[in-house]
Amino acid sequence: MKKILSIGCTAVLAAVVACAGCGKDGETADGEFLGLKKGETFTTDQEISLTFTRPTGNNAQEKWWTDTIAAFNEEYAGRIKVTCTTATRGNSREYEQKISIWAGSDSLPDVLYVDGPFVSNYANSGVLVPIDRYIYEGYTDDFLDYVNDQNTYNGRLYTLSIVDSTVVLFYNKTVLSEERIAVPDEIADAWTFDELKTTATGLTKTVGAKKRYGLQIAGDAGEWLSYAFTPLWTEGVVNSEGKVTTGYLNGDAGVSAGEYLRSLVKSGAVYASATSSDFSAKTPTASMALMGTQNISEFLALGEDMCDWGVTFYPADDEGKISAPCGGWTLGITKNCASGKTVAASEFLKYCTSKEASESCARDTASPPSRKSLYETMPEYSDPNNAMYSVYSVIKSQILTSAQLRPKTVGYEVFSTEMSNALKDILYSTGYDTQAQIRNRLTTAATKIDASIAQIKIY
């Protein structure tokens, strides 16, 4: 009897929400709000189970997620239970390929953690559903504007972010001090790309029997080069609709960017096959490293084994303007989340992206928070006496004044892969010494990207 009663209650609850939603993704009469208002408590007669999948992170990220989900399940005991599974991120888009397979086999989890630039693609294809009718008005006001922009597609909100990331220039304090090189500590004084090249070349020398490079720019195979250097395309890499790259990627700015990057590598100052440990070692292989802020937690974990390191700004263009690559991972609800569970899923999203959760994640994983207010309240970002202030104040200035999102396009997968491949060729392969050769390579990449985007239906 009790079982029948509980099933009945669940059915009624599901029916109420489903009737309000009238569709799998909660589509209903225009603008009708379906979530919980500010201050309202989530209630249910029967515990709702949610599945959540995210990529496997580093130790700090894993610990934060484990603690946060345990805390959520405890706070919502008897009402919502989140079961988290992880999937390998991989070095060449293995995680995104898994998402494709789940979407193709109708086995997506209820909640998914996705990389920011994929929001457009997943929103267009219906993998993620809009959540703006479940998130009360004003909730996203505290989030960084570009983060909200990243999480929005066609004017509708699809995801919420906990923390963000950006690319900064890490440097070995000991080496730069020995070489009497002063590092800019104000964003207005940031090195230009040409100054970066000059400094890196000057730092490159043989120490003992080993060559010490001035700079390392290596990253993962999938998208690093496109992520790190897209800002060099000062006229943009894709048109405003996110569908055409020909004329942008292979435009004059692109050719200049290619020439600059090739000359940087040809100068001998760049360690082509570096890993983060080549920078972090006390006797480093590279004195500076252009890397993402996600490396900070690994450096902190090294403790005594880590070199004396610092951070300065992403290089500026010739006019002194910085456009720093930004954008991070973000949480969304998938099409497989039954309409009866969407409110519960949105509660989970709000819990993970709350001010408290964002602060703890930013602190524990050494990532820049996605909320504006935290840059004023977290001591790391606001108190000059804090041990990490010298690092985080640079990141704060960069994020608040110079953030540039990765391109918003439904074809980000092919865009980033092809652009990275083209850059890899231009930087390291033979036969790209003239402007024409560089333009041809970029044109090949642009043609492939455009052809692939043209094959994706815009729904």
């Binding site: 193709g104 090949t444 094959q455």
Partner: protein
């Protein structure tokens, strides 16, 4: 009569039971995927939104014939096949002839030549990636020792495919060698003894006894090497990601790119079907060729009276 019938039925049933696993696995993992792939090739199946799939008939095939990258992938694959198949088969035969002795100590050579085969292609690819590195790679260190400037190898559009070919031949030849070796050990010794009496030299013995005797095995080795070469994927995926500038992009890698990375299952299926059709055609030509050669030999034998 009745007893025989029951026994026969029992034998039939046992036979079917023995065949059942092969039928089930063959159907589930071979027939069904091929049929599905065939059907998908006429659709715009996009993996992220399968519910919106529509039939587009021959649009994917038409698009393929205009796809320059597909043309490049075919060219790269053919280059790989045309070099790898004869070189690998010849090398395997050479190695088999070398180790086809019962003298003490030759076993170690069999093991040495076969060792790369049991090493994962992924591991081998990663190792050779390091060997081919411009800075500090083994091959460039060896070249610099004899005064040759450092080569781009995998970073050079004109060298990358040949680097992969070299590695593939080295890695795969041991497998074919073992098959050739089995064939060589089946050649009757009397034939060689008779040839010795006739004062035949080593080359004559090889061309008139060894090669004809292992012809059926050679044909098998040729076919498996050909099929393996056409399916080349791992090396390009691990070592070059199809680059530089698509110079190592093969057809199978392009299927993977389109079908998995770009989620365009319909388009990827169309490439797969064309590839399958090419294989079927190649098999038909191979069989026709074999029949033609057989008929010619028969005719020649009848004309020459058995000589």
């Amino acid at each position: 009569m009745k007893t025989t019938s029951v026994r026969q039925k029992c034998i039939d049933r046992t036979g079917w039971l023995f065949m059942l696993p092969a039928i089930v696995f063959g159907t589930v993992f071979l027939i069904v995927p091929i049929v599905m792939c065939f059907l998908y090739s006429f659709s715009d199946f996009y993996m992220l939104r399968p519910e919106a799939t529509q039939t587009v008939w021959f649009d994917n095939y038409v698009a393929l014939f205009r796809d320059e990258i597909f043309g490049k992938a075919i060219g790269n694959t053919l280059l790989f096949v045309v070099i790898v198949v004869p070189v690998q088969c010849a090398l395997a035969l050479g190695l088999a002839l070398l180790v086809n002795r019962k003298d003490r100590g030759y076993g170690i050579f069999k093991l040495a030549y076969f060792a790369p085969v049991i090493t994962s292609m992924t591991v081998v690819s990663l190792l050779f990636q390091l060997f081919y590195a411009r800075d500090g790679g083994v091959f460039n260190l060896l070249l610099s020792a004899i005064g040759v400037p450092a080569q781009g190898f995998l970073q050079d559009e004109s060298q990358a495919m040949f680097c992969i070919i070299f590695m593939s031949v080295w890695q795969g030849a041991g497998y074919q060698m073992i098959i050739f070796l089995a064939g060589l050990q089946g050649v009757p010794k009397e034939l060689y003894e008779a040839a010795d009496i006739d004062a035949a030299n080593a080359w004559d013995k090889f061309t008139h006894i060894t090669l004809p005797s292992i012809a059926p095995i050679s044909s098998f080795v040729f076919v498996i090497t050909l099929v393996g070469a056409f399916k080349m994927f791992t090396q390009s995926y691990i070592m070059t990601s199809g680059g530089p500038n698509d110079s190592t992009l093969t057809v199978v890698y392009y299927i993977f790119q389109k079908g998995m990375s770009e989620q365009l299952v319909g388009y990827g299926s169309a490439i797969s079907m064309l590839f399958t059709a090419a294989f079927i055609l190649a098999s038909v030509f191979k069989n026709l060729g074999a029949k033609g050669i057989g008929a010619y030999k028969k005719y020649r034998a009848s004309v020459l009276g058995g000589y």
